[in-house]
């Protein structure tokens, strides 16, 4: 079974857990004491990933330390629909947003670590680069809507959506509001209603999709 070095509060690890859930893949989760223990910077994990970051994915002789590569790996094995098709523009868009997701990690992710877990950093700079990235994403989604497409790179969800979604959804944790971005909010609802969607702390399921308790009762 694939083994994921995981932290429940890490949006990057959540990408991989979410992708696995959406594609019906089972992961063996190995919890890393990221906070307060800083285990990801200890000798055992540095030997696997000299960058000192998580997630880390092991599958036989495959060892991955970039979440985008993990998403592609899971999709290729279990659900190739989530990868780019043969259309040149679509393939480029998937790649564009996969790379772009790194900017969300460093900006919004950095702001969140600063505001929540007291990681040192220039919070003003982190938040303003996060806002710049959100504006770009909002515009990308509006352009997609004009093409008649509901997701970031195609009319179906792809690895690009999963790569960008977590840090965006958790922007408020870092003191960045999502109120100014209607297209992002709509896109987030769409992703949260996908069959197999799972939550993480700070990212809720859509309560309104659950049956009303009274209705359930009166049916039985």
């Amino acid at each position: 079974m694939m083994k994921l070095y995981d932290y429940i509060l890490s949006p990057s690890c959540y990408k991989v857990r979410l992708m696995a859930a959406l594609t019906g893949t089972t992961l063996d989760l190995r919890a890393v004491d990221f906070h307060p223990g800083l285990e990801h910077r200890g000798p055992e994990l540095l030997a696997l990933n000299p960058a000192g970051s998580i997630p880390i994915l092991e599958d036989g002789d495959v060892l991955l330390t970039e979440s985008s590569a993990m998403l592609v790996y899971l999709a290729a094995k279990a659900a190739p629909d989530w990868l780019a098709g043969s259309d040149a523009k679509e393939a480029a868009r998937v790649q564009q947003w996969l790379s772009f997701s790194g900017r969300l990690t460093s900006s919004l992710g950095g702001a969140r670590l600063h505001e929540m877990l007291l990681r040192p950093g220039d919070i003003g700079a982190l938040q303003s680069s996060g806002i710049a990235a959100l504006r770009e994403l909002e515009l990308g989604l509006v352009e997609q809507a004009e093409r008649g497409q509901k997701f970031l790179a195609a009319d179906r969800p792809t690895v690009a959506d999963i790569a960008c979604f977590p840090y965006v959804a958790l922007a408020p944790d870092g003191g960045v509001s999502l109120d100014p971005y209607p297209a992002i909010r709509l896109w987030s609802r769409r992703l949260r209603s996908l069959p197999g969607f799972i939550e993480m702390p700070g990212i809720h399921r859509l309560h309104e999709l659950k049956p009303e308790p009274q209705l359930e009762k009166s049916e039985t």
Binding site: A31, D33, P36, G37, E115, M116, L118, P201, G202, K210
Partner: protein, 281 residues
């Protein structure tokens, strides 16, 4: 704003085991402080002028006060009980009033909606009647005979159970709960929320636990509690108004639950208003 009587109370300011000589630069009610270890390895807290503040190391954390504490730090006898595991969950910063962080911890009605499928689940949303009192001898708020159905009460629980709870407010920003211990029904698990007030609307929260659970790896115990607290954090940061409303006159009938009413009454009695907003009816 003057701090008032909360000035003389004890507050958590760091995990003792993680301190080094360089120390942790932080704030306590608007005052810059440094929490460090001295040459003997003992905890030492100094304020912005270099003055040494009172120090006490207990329950995994360093405690201090800007003023002159009238009492020793509250007791948690379970902290000395053999066989328990002590879990330093780690700090989480929350942009909310320190008093609101405590009040939210006392309220079980939010479990099914905020901690869905862990500490509560629909349709089990009803909170049965329980007892609340201010215990004059120890000057603490206690809620007892609290019961709630929980799908996953603890890492050690292997399915849904009805959990018994007791809640306790031991200091203006320190609260302790006792809940059914799944592997040892004759004992209580102890879970605390120690809150460091940085400002009236900003706090560092230090959850800590003393559990009977020989099986779960320490990291999993930490993550279970961090998951729960992070679910609370997003709620706490969105509460309006940011400060805890306290009616200076008569008790106002609120939607809040009984424990919260008693906590507010106790805060008012002591004039513990740092992080509160006095609202006239």
């Amino acid at each position: 704003m003057t701090v008032g009587p909360m000035f003389d109370e004890w507050y958590p300011v760091g995990i003792f085991g993680q301190l080094d000589a360089a120390g942790r630069k932080t704030m306590l009610m608007g005052e810059p402080i440094v929490v460090a270890r001295d040459d003997n390895g003992d905890a030492k807290v100094t304020d912005g002028t270099g003055r040494s503040l009172p120090v006490c190391v207990r329950y995994g954390h360093v405690w201090t006060s800007l003023g002159d504490p009238k009492k020793k730090l509250f007791a948690i006898p379970e902290a000395d009980q053999p066989g328990r595991r002590f879990v330093d969950v780690g700090v989480v910063r929350v942009r909310c009033s320190p008093l609101r962080a405590v009040e939210n911890f006392l309220d079980i009605a939010h479990f099914p909606f905020v901690h869905t499928d862990i500490l509560g689940a629909e349709p089990h949303t009803e909170v049965q009647a329980y007892k609340v009192e201010i215990r004059e001898d120890v000057d603490e708020v206690w809620a007892t005979q609290v019961e709630f159905y929980q799908p996953q009460a603890a890492k050690s629980a292997s399915g849904g159970i009805t959990t018994q709870y007791m809640y306790r407010v031991a200091g203006p920003t320190s609260t302790v709960l006792y809940k059914t211990c799944p592997p040892r029904p004759s004992e209580w698990d102890v879970i605390t929320l120690f809150v460091q007030p940085l400002a009236e609307d900003l706090c560092d929260v230090w959850p800590w636990m003393a559990l009977f659970d020989d099986d779960t790896p320490m990291t999993d115990l930490i993550h279970f509690q961090q998951t729960i607290f992070l679910q609370d954090r997003s709620i706490l940061e969105n509460q309006v108004p940011r400060l805890l409303p306290l009616d200076p006159g008569m008790e106002m009938p609120t939607r809040a639950d009984l424990t919260s009413v008693a906590y507010r009454r106790w805060l008012k009695r002591h004039n513990f208003t740092y992080g509160a907003q006095l609202v006239a009816q």
